[in-house]
């Protein structure tokens, strides 16, 4: 492969990965924007966010400071975005009662399991032979235990990494030698669950090489993309 072809390929890869992509699904029967009606009561489950620093060698260093800031910014951005759509918001609080706490935690973990299954089987091209094209994922009616009043629960999951200066230098050299070096990746999903029956009514994947959750503006931009197509 000639040098120029290699560079061209690399550039194409970079351009592809540099843009942010979202892709969402709605449950069968939920087609219209705002189909769930204005003023719907939505419970926001604490966003599951973790930010890491991508070190020169590719090791990901967890960053507690960035993570704490991102959780705060993301929650504020979610609030603003959903309020502007007319939703009534409440925030999940961990209860004192140990039994209730455990039950609710199980619901949250169940969502994690179902959410990652949707990612794997709907977005990452690992088809479930018997599932077909139906988008009929559900957590079951047990999720009502999360909140007695809210109609929907909104879950958000996000992992993001940011390269150090040295890592960027390595990427520059890697390009010369035709070696691709990643500078970090933002991947996340948001989902809306009907607390009456546990159905996942909407699910959106964000896959991006840009975006910065470490400041309020960046977090708001990422949250706006994460809410792409939300039927509220």
């Amino acid at each position: 492969m000639s040098h120029s072809v290699r560079i061209a390929l690399l550039l194409a890869t970079l351009l592809l990965s540099a843009c942010a992509q979202t892709s969402h699904h709605r449950a069968d029967g939920v087609t219209e924007q705002a189909a769930l009606g204005r003023g719907a009561q939505v419970l926001i489950v604490e966003p599951d966010i973790e930010l890491t620093e991508l070190l020169t060698s590719g090791v990901q260093q967890p960053r507690a400071d960035w993570t704490a800031a991102a959780r705060e910014y993301a929650t504020a951005a979610l609030d603003a975005a959903l309020k502007s759509r007319g939703a009534q918001l409440s925030h999940y609080r961990v209860p004192q009662d140990p039994l209730q706490k455990e039950e609710q935690r199980q619901s949250i973990l169940l969502h994690q399991a179902v959410g990652t299954s949707i990612l794997l089987h709907r977005h990452f091209n690992v088809p479930l032979p018997h599932k077909g094209k139906a988008f009929d994922w559900t957590l079951g009616p047990g999720v009502r235990k999360l909140d007695p009043d809210a109609r929907y629960a909104l879950f958000l999951f996000l992992r993001d990494s940011y390269a150090t200066g040295n890592r960027k230098a390595v990427m520059a050299i890697g390009m010369v030698f035709g070696i691709g070096v990643s500078l970090g990746q933002q991947i996340g999903f948001a989902s809306l669950v009907d607390l009456d029956d546990g159905r996942v009514v909407w699910f959106n994947l964000l896959n991006s090489a840009t975006g910065d959750m470490r400041n309020p503006e960046g977090a708001a931009a990422s949250v706006a993309m994460l809410l792409d197509g939300v039927p509220l």
Binding site: L14, L55, P62, A64, L109, A169, I173, M175, V176
Partner: protein, 410 residues
């Protein structure tokens, strides 16, 4: 990736675009390009080596230390471990028996001393010999470890060892070492041109990481021994525990134990080191207190042990437990279960003998006759099997498998 990174990308792209524009037309620019690339490589490599050569030194943790800088490595590790702990605290794998948990917490508190308020114990139902300590003070003990420990002195050594990891901040030291090692490995790979030599050199670098882990284990062993002595336990029990672990390890499936890529010292080495270090004259064993604490759970753990299907190890373990003042009938019964399930030539005979040993203790647990009947049936000794099953159903009229067994008896 952050906004400045995008800018960096654009700049990098522009640069490389220029490089590709006139590769051979102008010899001078090609030379300059190579020189520039070489310079940059050297810069990065020296940068990597600088961080790689700095051996991480981590101070011992002070009790009730002030909150960490949120941007620090340690705060990041603790954040991740806290998340894990939150899941663990609600896990179905957790053993929640209040009396046993109280016993473990109190013992841990004694061993942790000034660090007691910082450490939380979780007993996880896993049939393997293992305990772990997180940088956030989360201590995990697996039930397979409690099944193998003989007395409180041995358990105290294990917990003291884990407290040692916490106090010496081994998670952080290991993380820092991983960072510097991966930098060194990358530097070696870049210098080796990404070829086999570079790969081999970087493998060598990662090998040092495992040696680092073994050094930490030795340091934690020393801490455990120190605490044992300070609390008046018999410190010979640490070596005895590792001798027992080694006996089981010896009969492991024929896989060779690797010495470079083992993070823990080989059990044999550990046994010898601990045996030599033992210095107390007598000291507490706490055998009765320990047995009383685990007695109610032991039946379940023995069942889990057999379900591992590592029968050679289980055989060694049950032989050892059989020599201890635990419930003898229970140990005989599980020996029978183990042989019956392994089902090698001669095993059904061994199983029958074991069930009969259990019955001979006067223990009336119905499962003994069930196992006996099943083993006899496998050998075609149907008359004897029939009377064993009759006895089983007489003793357990509500047995779940009653219909199945009655079918056989017909």
């Amino acid at each position: 990736m952050s906004a400045p990174v995008v800018g960096e990308e654009h700049r990098a792209r522009a640069r490389s675009y220029k490089f590709s524009e006139s590769p051979r037309k102008n010899c001078r620019s090609a030379l300059a390009r190579d020189a520039l690339a070489l310079l940059r490589t050297l810069l990065v490599v020296s940068c990597l080596l600088l961080t790689a050569c700095a051996t991480p030194t981590v101070d011992r943790l002070a009790p009730a230390a002030p909150p960490l800088d949120a941007a620090s490595d340690e705060a990041g590790l603790i954040m991740q471990m806290n998340r894990y702990e939150e899941d663990l605290a609600n896990s179905a794998a957790l053993v929640r028996d209040p009396a046993l948990n109280r016993y473990l917490s109190e013992l841990t508190c004694k061993l942790a001393g000034d660090y007691c308020p910082e450490i939380r114990v979780y007993l996880v139902r896993q049939p393997y010999f293992n305990a772990q300590m997180g940088p956030n003070g989360m201590l995990i003990i697996w039930t397979g470890l409690l099944l193998r420990v003989e007395d409180e002195a041995q358990l105290a050594f294990v917990i003291g060892h884990e407290v040692g990891h916490y106090v010496e901040r081994h998670s952080l030291a290991r993380w820092l070492k991983l960072k510097s090692t991966s930098n060194l490995a990358l530097a070696l790979q870049v210098l080796g041109g990404g070829g086999l030599i570079g790969a081999a050199a970087s493998m060598g670098a990662y090998g040092t990481l495992y040696a680092f882990g073994r050094d930490q284990e030795r340091a934690a062993d020393d801490y455990g021994l120190m605490r044992l002595r300070e609390l008046g336990y018999d410190d010979h029990r640490a070596g005895t525990l590792w001798a027992a672990v080694w006996e089981e390890e010896k009969v492991r499936d024929k896989e060779l134990l690797s010495s470079i890529f083992a993070t823990h010292p080989a059990s044999e080495e550990r046994r010898d080191r601990l045996t030599q270090a033992a210095a107390t004259d007598g000291g507490t064993l706490g055998a009765d207190a320990f047995r009383a604490a685990i007695d109610a759970q032991r039946d379940e753990w023995l069942g889990d042990e057999i379900s591992r299907r590592h029968y050679a190890q289980t055989e060694v373990l049950l032989q050892r437990l059989g020599g201890l003042p635990f419930d003898a009938a229970q140990t005989h019964f599980y020996r029978g279960e183990m042989y019956r399930r392994r089902a090698h030539a001669g095993d059904f005979e061994l199983a029958i003998a074991a069930y009969r040993d259990a019955i001979a203790t006067g223990n009336g647990v119905p499962a003994n006759w069930r196992g006996l009947g099943l083993a006899l049936r496998q050998l075609g000794r149907n008359d004897e099997a029939r009377s064993a099953f009759d006895e089983y159903l007489k003793r357990a009229p509500q047995a779940e498998d009653r219909a199945l067994i009655e079918g056989w008896l017909r």
